[in-house]
Point group: C2
Chain length 191, copies 2
C-alpha cells in the first residue's frame, strides 16, 4: 500500500482505499536479475516500486547501454512502449529482489476516459518523468562524465554501494576504465 | 485558430469555439531574433506556433547550446520553468517572424482543477513531449553525430535550408567544422 500513501501525500488526501484513485492494484514480486519487461514486448503494466531497484537498458549494435535506475517510491516501466502500446526497445530488469504494486494499462485507459482524478494523476506523473528526462538531456549537452557522476552520487549516495561500477559506467556513457579513473581521483575513499 | 483545429483533430471533435476545450487563447507576434522567454524569467505562457520557428538554448560556462527547434503546429515554451514555475535555465527565441496562440499558465491551472478535458489534453500533450525527450536521450546514448544529423534531415528536410550550419552543430553537440565535414561527405548536394 505504499502507492496509496504516495498518492495521498501527492494529492493532499487521506483515502484508505486505492479505488478512491480509480486504480486497481495488485502485487508482484521479482527475483534478482529477473526480466520484468523484455526487448520487443509491449508494456502492459505500470509498476510502483515498494522494495528493490530496477535498471532500464537498451541495445545499440548488440551492446547494452543502461538508461536509468529506479528506486523505491517511484513508478517504472518501459514508458514509451506503455504510452504507445508498441514493442519495447528497452528491457526493464530487477537488480535485486523487488516487490511492486501493479496498475494494468487497460484499467488505466478506462479510468482516463471518465475520471478527473485519474487524468490529474496521469498528467502530474507524466510532467514529473518529463522533467527527469529534460534534466538528463541538459546534462548530456552541458556536463562532462565527471560532473554527471558527482551529481549522481550526490543525489543517490546509495548508488555507488548498490550498483557495480561497470553498470554506472554504462549509465554515464563512458568506459568502465574511465569511470574507475574518475572515481579514484574524485572519490578516493570509495576504493 | 490553428490550435482549435489541432485539438479537434487530436480529440476527434468538431468544436468551433476554443472555450469548448476550456482554454482562453490570445494571439501574439514576435519579430525575427526576438526573445520570447529569457534566462532567469519564469515561464507564464504556453505557445502554439501558427507561423515561424523557434529555438531553445541554454548556457553552459557562458557558451550557448541549442536544445531544440520548434516548428508550426507544435507547442513551445520553457517547459520545465512552466511546469515548476521556477526561473528558466533556457531561452526561447524566434528564429524568424512568428505568430503564436497563447495560453496563460494561471488559466490552465484553473482549468486543471475541475475540467476533465483540460486534464486529458494536458496529460496527452505531456506524454508526447516526454516521448520526444526520451527519444533524444536514446539518440545521445546510442547514435553518433552523423547518424543524428541524417535523422534530423530525414525528419525535417527543411531544417538544412532554414537553420544555419552553426546552429545545427550546436543542436547536435558537435563543432561547426565537424558538421561541415559530415555534410560534405554525407550530403554533397547541400553545399
Amino acid at each position: 500500500m505504499k502507492l496509496l500513501e504516495f498518492l495521498n501525500t501527492h494529492f493532499k488526501t487521506n483515502f484508505t482505499d486505492p479505488s478512491a484513485f480509480f486504480v486497481k492494484l495488485t502485487e508482484q514480486r521479482f527475483k534478482k536479475g529477473e526480466i520484468i519487461t523484455d526487448y520487443g514486448k509491449t508494456e502492459k503494466k505500470l509498476y510502483f516500486i515498494n522494495e528493490g531497484f530496477v535498471q532500464i537498458t537498451m541495445l545499440h549494435e548488440s551492446e547494452e547501454r543502461i538508461f536509468d535506475f529506479f528506486f523505491p517510491d517511484s513508478f517504472v516501466c518501459s514508458f514509451t512502449s506503455f504510452l504507445k502500446q508498441e514493442p519495447s526497445d528497452a528491457r526493464v530488469s530487477a537488480l535485486v529482489e523487488c516487490c511492486m504494486e501493479v496498475i494494468q494499462y487497460n484499467d488505466l485507459q478506462q479510468a482516463y476516459k471518465t475520471s478527473l482524478v485519474a487524468n490529474q494523476l496521469g498528467r502530474v506523473l507524466t510532467e514529473q518523468i518529463y522533467m527527469v528526462k529534460a534534466r538528463r538531456e541538459k546534462d548530456f549537452l552541458t556536463k562532462s562524465a565527471v560532473e554527471r557522476y558527482r551529481e549522481l552520487i550526490a543525489m543517490r549516495p546509495d548508488i555507488a554501494k548498490l550498483i557495480p561500477v561497470n553498470k554506472i559506467a554504462k549509465y554515464l556513457g563512458v568506459h568502465p576504465e574511465s569511470l574507475s579513473r574518475i572515481r579514484r581521483s574524485a572519490f578516493p575513499n570509495l576504493g
